[in-house]
């Protein structure tokens, strides 16, 4: 990858790395977060997160005992919180891959200090997302029937079903993200192996780093693979949310059956993802005093990305309305009327508020540069994106074609339990990650330090 050109700034933007920093100081600052003693706030938050995680465990246990009937779903609304949360989580995941892969290809070096963190977020978000499609089935213990495994029934999955596409897309996404993340970790694990305080830690990191020693020959292949992975992840991340959107777009349910879904789902995913990154990063900067590694500029760039993707999403909503009306189809037209004025109108309107209205504040530089404001706006987007999925899933189904089968969907305490539980699960994993692994890609940060700029020796040039 090309970190050779100067990171010294051509524009009046805050620098990517606060000076003065060299390879050593960068290394130590990030490592010390791991070597250092466990901060009290970490213990506190971990305790909270872990107990919420407990709620998830209970909800799952009860679900397996009694069946999906403990949820609010019914006929016509066969999908409820489970699928809403699935789409929400998987969407959040997307920012990570986008930052680490797409920005890498775009040579956006500012990505360097947040990509590791974002990738971890991706991984854990996908883990949460992955729970739901399995658990929402009536007989989860038969989940393996969705995989193409030879069996005594001579049966195979139905490859025409968008749900099978989901299985392939999500498992691939999870695997590739994990590989990408781990590959990035190897050199930093080596750093911990060499510098961690106690022997046990060194051994563990040593095993994990597989004997990495920074050999130029290794770097040679490493860099090439890393770039290729980035190249592969980019179409992958686009495909994943496209496939997720197919779950809806491929059906004939009014409000689902629409071609705008793939692009606007992907945009929505990035939107949600960046919101979540900000939500997590903004408090962490002061807590770990890493403002000079994750700088104002990072926040601003992310704010801009959110603004853009947010506008795409808004455009998506607009198109939905327009096409619904333009189609002239009775059911489509009614679906819109019902979303806006039907029994679930408050949800649709708050979606517009949280997802479209409030994010417009990002136009103002004042807000982009104020962490507090950014935090508030990202929170609004987190909520807004969840509401979007609720609108898509619930309000489309509850009043579809046949008037006689209209009904309402009301989530139960178990719906909420499992949803909140996964948030606890997510935070637990996040906290463990920032405590025990380098949450910033150290070796990539080194490349941004002044000392990393190398002139190609003319001696050598002459030799050829």
């Amino acid at each position: 990858m090309a970190m050779l050109e100067a990171s010294a700034d051509r524009y009046d933007r805050p620098p990517v790395v606060g000076s003065p920093h060299d390879a050593a100081t960068v290394t130590d600052q990030v490592s010390n977060i791991v070597y250092g003693r466990t901060p009290l706030w970490w213990l506190g938050t971990f305790a909270v997160a872990f107990s919420i995680f407990g709620v998830m465990t209970i909800s799952i246990f009860w679900l397996l005992i009694k069946g999906t009937g403990i949820w609010g779903i019914n006929v016509p609304v066969g999908w409820g919180f489970a699928i809403i949360n699935f789409v929400w989580w998987i969407g959040i995941g997307h920012a990570g891959t986008l930052i680490s892969a797409i920005l890498l290809l775009l040579r956006q070096e500012w990505r360097t200090s947040i990509n590791r963190f974002a990738e971890a977020m991706t991984l854990f978000a996908v883990a949460c997302a992955g729970l739901f499609p399995l658990l929402h089935t009536g007989r989860p213990w038969l989940g393996y029937w969705l995989l193409p495994i030879p069996n005594t029934m001579g049966m195979w999955p139905n490859f025409r079903s968008p749900l099978i596409w989901d299985v392939f897309a999500v498992t691939t996404y999870a695997t590739v993200s994990a590989l990408f993340w781990f590959t990035g970790l190897i050199p930093d694990l080596a750093t911990f192996r060499d510098h961690a305080k106690n022997k046990l830690a060194r051994t563990i990191y040593g095993i994990a780093s597989m004997g990495w020693r920074g050999s130029a020959r290794h770097w040679h292949n490493y860099e090439s693979v890393y770039l290729l992975l980035a190249g592969l992840s980019t179409p992958l991340v686009l495909s994943v949310h496209t496939v997720v959107s197919f779950d809806f777009a491929m059906s004939i349910v009014p409000g689902w059956h629409t071609t705008i879904f793939p692009p606007y789902f992907v945009a929505g995913a990035v939107y949600a993802g960046f919101a979540m990154v900000l939500t997590l990063v903004i408090p962490l900067r002061p807590l770990f005093k890493i403002q000079d590694l994750i700088t104002e500029r990072h926040l601003q760039n992310m704010a801009k990305v959110m603004l853009v993707t947010g506008l795409i999403v808004a455009y998506g909503y607009a198109m939905e309305l327009f096409v619904g009306w333009y189609s002239g189809h009775h059911a489509e037209k009614f679906m819109l009327e019902n979303r806006i004025t039907g029994p679930y109108w408050p949800i649709w309107w708050s979606l517009i508020l949280f997802n479209v209205a409030i994010p417009q504040l990002l136009w103002a530089k004042r807000n982009r540069t104020s962490p507090m404001a950014l935090f508030a706006i990202s929170m609004s987007i987190n909520v807004g994106m969840w509401l979007e999925r609720f609108v898509i899933v619930a309000t489309s189904l509850h009043r579809d074609y046949l008037v006689s089968s209209w009904d309402m969907y009301t989530p139960t305490k178990w719906d909420w339990g499992l949803y909140l539980g996964t948030i606890g699960f997510f935070l637990t994993l996040m906290l463990l990650f920032i405590r025990y692994l380098p949450m910033i890609a150290i070796f990539e940060m080194r490349t941004l330090t002044p000392g990393a700029k190398v002139k190609h020796p003319e001696t050598h040039a002459k030799a050829h």
């Binding site: 490859f159 691939t172 050199p187 990495w212 770097w219 592969l232 495909s239 990393a452 020796p457």
Partner: protein, 182 residues
Amino acid sequence: MANQDAPILYGLMAELPSAQALTDAAAKVHAAGYREVDAYSPFPIEAVSEIVCDHKRSVMPKIVLAGGLLGLLGGFGLEYWAAVIKYPLNIGGRPFFSWPSFIIPAYECTILGASLAGVFGMLFVNGLPSPYHPVFNVPRFQAASRDGFFLVIKSKDKKFDRTAAKSFLEGIGASEVFDVEY
């Protein structure tokens, strides 16, 4: 040739003060005709890799391509075999060979295959995992994962002669030169 009474060496390791110094040193060593050479740095330095690897391109792209193709064919083949040959079922009036639907899983398989080939290929080609390696015998080497830059001329190099190499390395700006024992 190394004289007999000396301990068996893996090579000589020179520590260099900076990335730039390492690059220049690598260039000089290469110019001097040493080929069994490796450089160690806390972050990738393209120039150094180029020189050390004697300007050979990495094999990784080929491996990744192979993996991708394997995934593509495997995935699509499986779908075709299962849905058309093994157990054809009339599903929603669609044809048995519903290729448009088959594209997506095949596509995902391609990416999966390529990525797996990439990562595990890289580890394999780099001979990892190898938790034990002679260079770790040099206490100072631990800096290589922080801010240290090292250059090693291996003993198996045809031109290798301990004393000559040592002085040569000292000559090209090594702050210090260590023996790397097996």
